[in-house]
C-alpha cells in the first residue's frame, strides 16, 4: 500500500452558532458548555458536502471517484455523490453514497483508498457531512452540530496511509428507524463503556500494532466520539493525548462528518513525521494510521478548520434554529418546479456554465442561443463562470411569497469575476451590510422544493479569505 494517502483536505462549518445556554433556557434544562454549529435553513448535508468538496478539490480534474458519507442524505432514493460530481463538473467518475452509520465517513475513506490502490481512480474525493436530527429539549440536541469534511485520496501524497483496521459488530449504538424523526439512543453507558469504547479501542490498537507505531508517539487522535468525555477517556485509555479542540464545545458532535473534520483539523497543524490516528465507530469501527511527510504544510487548505470554526455568527434565538430545521409549523410559499427544467438546466445550475458570444465576447448567463448584447445567434461557446464577484446593485426584499418578513431577503445583481451578470439571493449575511460594490462568493444552497424535488442552486455571501474560487 505504498504511496497512497491524503493529498488535500478541507472542512465546511455553517456560519451559525447556537449558544447552548439559549437551548437550556428554552427548555429549563441544564446547558452543556459552549455552542453548536447550526446549518441555515437553506443548507443540508449535501450543500455542506459540496462546500467542503469545492474547498478540498479546487482542481478536480484527476478525481475519478466521488464518495459521499452521511447519515442524513437529503433523499431516501437519489444519491448525493452524483450531485457533488455534477457541481465539480466531473462526469466520468464512480460515485457512491455511504450511509446508515456514523462510520460512513471512514468507510468511504477506505473505499477511496481501495479505488486508488487498485488503479481504478487516479484520485478519490471523500466527503462526509451530517445534520443529525435530535429531539427538541434533549441533551443530544445540544450536543449535535452540523458540518462537513472532505479529503482527496491519491498517490504520492503528503500524508501517507500506514495501516488500517476494521471490524463490524452488532451493537446498541445510536439508531434511527426508517421514518423516525430523531436519533434515538439507549443508556449512554452502553456506548461510552461498551459499544463505542470497546470498538474504537480494538480497531485503533490493531491498526497501531500493524503500523508499528506506539500510542504515545501519536501526534493527533482524530476520531469520532459520542461526547467530549468519552473522547477524552478513550484517548487516555489508549495512551494518546486528546486533541486540543475535539470539536464538541465549538461546533458539536458532527456525526459521520466528525472524524473527517477532526482529521482535517489535525492535518492543518501536522508537521512532517507526525503520526495521526483517524478513527470512527458505529456497529464496529475503522481505524487508519497516517504519517505526515514533507509537503504536509504546503498542502494546507486556503481556509483552515480553525478559520472555519472561528468564522461564525451567533444565532439570535433557539426558535430560529427550530425554523431552520423545520421543527415549527411554517407555511412556505408554494414554488412551482419542473423536473424537466431541472434536468435541462443542470449544467447551468450545478457547475455554473454560462456562455460567451464569440461574435462580441460578452459572457452571459443563463445560456441562450442568441446573444443578449449583439443578437447574433448560435455563436456561443460554453464557459464556466467564476464563483466570485461584485454587487452591482441590490435590494432587501421584505415581500417573500406573499408574506411580509421582518428580516428581508437580500437580492443581488452580481457581476462575476471574468464576466457574466447573475441575479442571486444573498445568504449568511446581515442585510445591513449589503452594499453596491461588496465582494461576494457563490455558495451552493437549497432553494426550494418545488415539484417535490430539492432544487439546489447558488446564493451569494460576503466573500471570505480563502473562500470559493
Amino acid at each position: 500500500m505504498t504511496g497512497v494517502g491524503i493529498t488535500s483536505w478541507a472542512t465546511a462549518i455553517p456560519m451559525w452558532r447556537l449558544d447552548r445556554g439559549l437551548m437550556g433556557s428554552a427548555w429549563d434544562t441544564p446547558a452543556l458548555p459552549g455552542e453548536r454549529a447550526v446549518a441555515g435553513g437553506d443548507q443540508d448535508s449535501l450543500t455542506l458536502a459540496v462546500e467542503a468538496a469545492l474547498a478540498a478539490a479546487p482542481d478536480p480534474s484527476a478525481i475519478d471517484a466521488v464518495f459521499f458519507a452521511t447519515t442524513t442524505p437529503p433523499y431516501a432514493e437519489k444519491h448525493g455523490a452524483a450531485t457533488i460530481a455534477a457541481v465539480l463538473d466531473r462526469h466520468s467518475v464512480r460515485t457512491a453514497d455511504f450511509t446508515g452509520t456514523i462510520r460512513a465517513g471512514t468507510q468511504a475513506t477506505l473505499a477511496g483508498m481501495d479505488a486508488v490502490r487498485s488503479g481504478s481512480a487516479r484520485a478519490a474525493l471523500v466527503v462526509a457531512a451530517d445534520l443529525r436530527p435530535a429531539e427538541p429539549s434533549s441533551v443530544t440536541e445540544q450536543l449535535f452540530g452540523d458540518g462537513a469534511g472532505a479529503i482527496v485520496i491519491g498517490p504520492d501524497a503528503p500524508v501517507e496511509v500506514v495501516s488500517q483496521s476494521s471490524f463490524a459488530e452488532e451493537s446498541p449504538g445510536p439508531w434511527r428507524r426508517t421514518g423516525d424523526p430523531f436519533v434515538r439512543s439507549f443508556d449512554a453507558k452502553s456506548e461510552t463503556e461498551y459499544g463505542y469504547a470497546r470498538a474504537i479501542e480494538e480497531a485503533v490498537t490493531t491498526a497501531l500494532g500493524s503500523a508499528g507505531v506506539a500510542a504515545a508517539d501519536v501526534a493527533a487522535f482524530a476520531a469520532f466520539a459520542p461526547d467530549p468525555r468519552t473522547y477524552a477517556v478513550t484517548a487516555k485509555r489508549l495512551g494518546m493525548s486528546p486533541m486540543k479542540d475535539p470539536l464538541f464545545a465549538s461546533v458539536g458532535n458532527l456525526g459521520a462528518a466528525h472524524a473527517l473534520v477532526s482529521l482535517a483539523h489535525a492535518l492543518d497543524g501536522a508537521a512532517p513525521g507526525d503520526a495521526i490516528v483517524f478513527a470512527s465507530a458505529g456497529e464496529g469501527a475503522d481505524a487508519i494510521v497516517l504519517r505526515a511527510r514533507e509537503g504536509v504544510t504546503d498542502a494546507r487548505p486556503a481556509r483552515t478548520t480553525d478559520e472555519a470554526i472561528a468564522d461564525k455568527r451567533a444565532l439570535p434565538s433557539y426558535e430560529r434554529y427550530l425554523r431552520f430545521r423545520e421543527l415549527l409549523p411554517w407555511e412556505d410559499p408554494v414554488v412551482p418546479g419542473s423536473p424537466i427544467r431541472a434536468w435541462r438546466d443542470r449544467e447551468q445550475a450545478f457547475p455554473l456554465y454560462g456562455v460567451r458570444c464569440t461574435a462580441c465576447g460578452v459572457v452571459q448567463f443563463p445560456a441562450n442561443r442568441a446573444c443578449i448584447a449583439c443578437s447574433v445567434a448560435d455563436k456561443m461557446e460554453r464557459v464556466r463562470l467564476q464563483k466570485r464577484g461584485t454587487v452591482f446593485t441590490f435590494t432587501l426584499d421584505h415581500l417573500v411569497g406573499g408574506r411580509y418578513l421582518e428580516t428581508p431577503v437580500p437580492r443581488l445583481v452580481v457581476e462575476l469575476d471574468g464576466g457574466g451578470r447573475i441575479f442571486l439571493e444573498g445568504t449568511d449575511c446581515d442585510p445591513g451590510e449589503v452594499a453596491v460594490g461588496m465582494l461576494v462568493e457563490l455558495t451552493f444552497r437549497l432553494m426550494h422544493e418545488g415539484a417535490n424535488i430539492r432544487n439546489y442552486y447558488w446564493k451569494a455571501r460576503p466573500a471570505r479569505p480563502g473562500g470559493a474560487a
Binding site: A342, T395, L399, G402, P408
Partner: protein, 389 residues
Amino acid sequence: MPGIKDRVAIAGVGATRFTEHYEKDQEDLLLEAVEEATADAGIERADIEAMWVGVYYRFTGLSGTTAADATRLYGIPSTRVENYCASGMDAFRNACFAVAAGVYDIVLACGVEKITDQGSRGLPNVLRDSIPPFMPPASAPALFAMAASRCFAERGWTREDLARVAVKNHANGARHPKAHFRREITMETAIEAPMIAWPLGRFDSCAVSDGAAAVIVTRPEIAKTLAHKDDYTVVKANGLAVTSSQPMYDPGFDYLGFPATRMAAAQAYAEAGITDPARQISFAEVHDCFTITELLNYEDLGFCEPGEGAAFCADGRASADGQLPVNPSGGLKSFGHPIGATGCRMIGELTRQLQGRADGVQVRDPELGLAHNLGGPGAVCSVTIVGRN
C-alpha cells in the same frame, strides 16, 4: 406609412373609483367603467363593434370573455391584452390601430383588475416561471428597488429624493374624486414608513387596488357626431417598446433608467412630431409604480437631462403648477395600480384635462398630454400622446 396621428379620436372615457372594492367583482367594475364611457360618448353599449381588454391577473382562463361577459356584448370580437403593467394602454393601442385601419367605426378599449380577489398580499407573483434556472422570483418592489440602490450609489440620490415624489403625488391625488388615497402626506410620513424593499418604503410603492377604466375609440369624423363633438381628443401617437424580462442578467443594463421607456418615447415623439418634449408636452401621467420609477421616467421621457431626475422633482418642475406637471391626477401613488385598468385610466385623465373638466386637478391650458406605462422589471413601455382636436 400613414401612422395614426390625428386619425383616431377619443369619444368618451370612464373609470370606477380605484380602491379596495370588496363588494364588487371584476365584471361589476368593468361594466361600471364601460357604462360611464358610453354615456360620456353619448352612445349605446350595443354601438360597440369590437373590444380590447387589458387584464393581467386571472391569467389563463377568461381571455376575451373578460370583456364580453362584463358587457354582455356577445358575438363581436373581444380580445384580452396582457403586456405587464402596460396591458391597459396596449389594449387602447390595439383599439386605435383597428380604427385607423378602417375596420371598425366605434370600438372599446378597457382594462380591469380585481387584485383584492387574487388571495395574495401584494401582487401575486407571475414571473416565477420565467426566472432561470431555480431562482425564485423577487417581488415587484424589489425589481425597481435595485434601480434605486444603483442611483443612490452612482448619483448620490437619497430616500428624501424618493419621498418628494410621494409627497407631490399624494398632494395631487388628495384633490381627485376617484383616487384610492385622498390625503396629503408629509416628508416624515414617507421617510419613516416601513421598508418594503430597501430603499423603497411603503410610501415609495403604489398600493394594491381594484378598478376598471374604459375608452371609446372612433374616427374623428364620427366623433364630430357624438356627445363630445366640439371637444373630443385625438391620438397623436402611441409607441410600444419591449426589452428583456430579465434585465438583472443583462451585462449592459445600467439600472439608471429604462431603455424601454426611451425607445417607446422615441417612437411616439417621432410620430407626433415632438422634438422638445420638455416644452411641447403640457402635462404627463407617468408610471409611478414606485417613486424611483417616476424620477427615472423624467429622464427617459426627455423631460430633463440624464441624472437630473431628482432635481426635476425637487425644484418643482413636475409639480401641479410647475413647468411640466407630472401626475396631476395623483398617479399610481394615489390611485393604486389595478394593472389592466391603469393605462385606460391615464388616457381618461389626458382626455378630461384636455377638455378642461379635470375637476380638482385641472392643469392650465393643456395642448398635449402624455401617458406612460412601464411594466414588468422595466421591460414593456407604452407611451401615448393625446391632443385637442
